[in-house]
């Protein structure tokens, strides 16, 4: 497909990214609602979504802020949720690392679960794409998704206050997190990590400053990595 132009790859990215608006939109809406429930105004809520653009980390930070956890622990926990972004960055580097620094910085800002997942599959399957075409595809994916993320955050923040407590919105955050975890349980190692994470978190709630969360997270990461090693060794036999 030597005829693939930069423009057509861009629109391909836009088309491939469009269905994810259905995931990103409600998620952003929910963040807007939960943030106003926590006492943030529309501008603060939107600033959160623009500066951070990482749903899971934003929900984590917000939840811990409402629990009056020390700021350092809030930051450490929310950044731990975002550690996977470093993995995305590492895995994208061979494909987009040769571009000028400005492009790489822009791509870094737009690296979210969906843009990473779609583009890495495309780059692996179509190794003949030029550097410019890869960037065109990547920016195509986020063209609808990121403005959608900002806009739905504002909508959520605006309607949030009008939702009465009978709607049990306190439980929107746990359900949303579970909805993100469940599809990520791809292997025995992932399931083992998640189970250890739950057990350690419940055992260590007594630890001050919410450090139980970080203990559970590191324990679970080690278990996940260990189980993966055991499973690959078994498969090799």
């Amino acid at each position: 497909m030597a005829t693939t132009t930069k423009k057509s790859v861009y629109f391909q990215g836009m088309r491939d990214g469009a269905p994810f608006l259905l995931v990103v939109g409600p998620f952003a809406l929910l963040f807007g609602v939960v943030a106003t429930e926590a006492g943030l105004n529309v501008y603060e809520t939107l600033a959160f979504s623009i500066v951070v653009i990482a749903g899971a980390a934003q929900f984590t930070a917000l939840q811990l802020l409402t629990e009056n956890v020390p700021t350092v622990i809030v930051l450490a926990s929310a950044l731990a949720v975002n550690l996977r972004m470093a993995m995305y960055s590492a895995s994208l580097t061979p494909y987009i690392g040769a571009a000028p620094i400005g492009w790489r910085a822009l791509a870094a800002y737009f690296t979210i679960d969906q843009s990473y997942a779609l583009s890495i599959v495309k780059f692996e399957n179509e190794p003949y794409l030029t550097l410019a075409q890869r960037y065109a595809y990547f920016f195509g994916i986020v063209t609808l998704m990121i403005p959608g993320w900002y806009a739905m955050t504002v909508v959520g923040a605006l309607v949030g206050k009008s939702i009465p407590p009978e709607y049990a919105l306190d439980f929107a955050v746990p359900i949303t997190f579970i909805a993100m975890i469940a599809p990520a349980l791809r292997s025995v190692a992932h399931v083992a990590a998640a189970m250890v994470s739950v057990m350690l978190a419940l055992c260590f709630t007594w630890v001050p400053y919410n450090l139980g969360l970080l203990i559970a997270a590191f324990g679970a990461m080690m278990i996940g990595a260990r189980v993966e090693l055991i499973m690959t060794r078994k498969a090799a036999l």
Binding site: L40, F48, V51, V52, A54, A56, A57, T60, A61, L65, T71, A78, L79, A80, V81, N82, L83, R84, M85, A86, M87, Y88, A90, T93, G97, A98, I101, R104, A105, A107, A108, A168, D170, F171, P174, I175, F177, I178, A179, M180, I181, A182, P183, A184, H190, A193, M195, S197, L202, G212, L213, A216, F218, G219, A220, M221, G224, A225, E228, L229
Partner: protein
């Protein structure tokens, strides 16, 4: 009430930190690859952190002052099962919400 200074420290700190994590390899390391053991641990960050955050919220919900609540427990189970089977985030959220409201209505 969330302290405004804390809020802005978190927003800006989290923004810079997240950008740093996204930029660390594309921006700085270039085409060198990470040791396999680091990648192996990074693969499990999401499933290691998020369940630890959720578990206490499910078992001891703040809305019931920390008492175990059957409606919330069932809703969490529904979201987990539907999400695992369908691999669909939206379907998982919707079924969790449906079971929660049904449970709150019944119990």
């Amino acid at each position: 009430m969330i302290d405004r200074v804390d809020l802005w420290i978190v927003i800006i700190g989290l923004g810079l930190g997240s950008f740093g994590l996204r930029f660390v390899f594309t921006g700085i390391i270039g085409d060198r690859t990470l040791p396999e053991w680091v990648l192996r641990h990074l693969r499990y960050t999401a499933v290691a952190v998020l369940p630890a955050l959720v578990a206490p919220l499910v078992v001891w919900p703040s809305a019931t002052n920390g008492d175990l609540d059957p409606a919330r427990l069932l809703a969490a189970a529904a979201a987990l099962i539907v999400g695992y089977v369908s691999r669909n985030i939206l379907a998982s959220i919707l079924s969790g919400a449906a079971v929660l409201y049904l449970g709150l209505y019944l119990f």
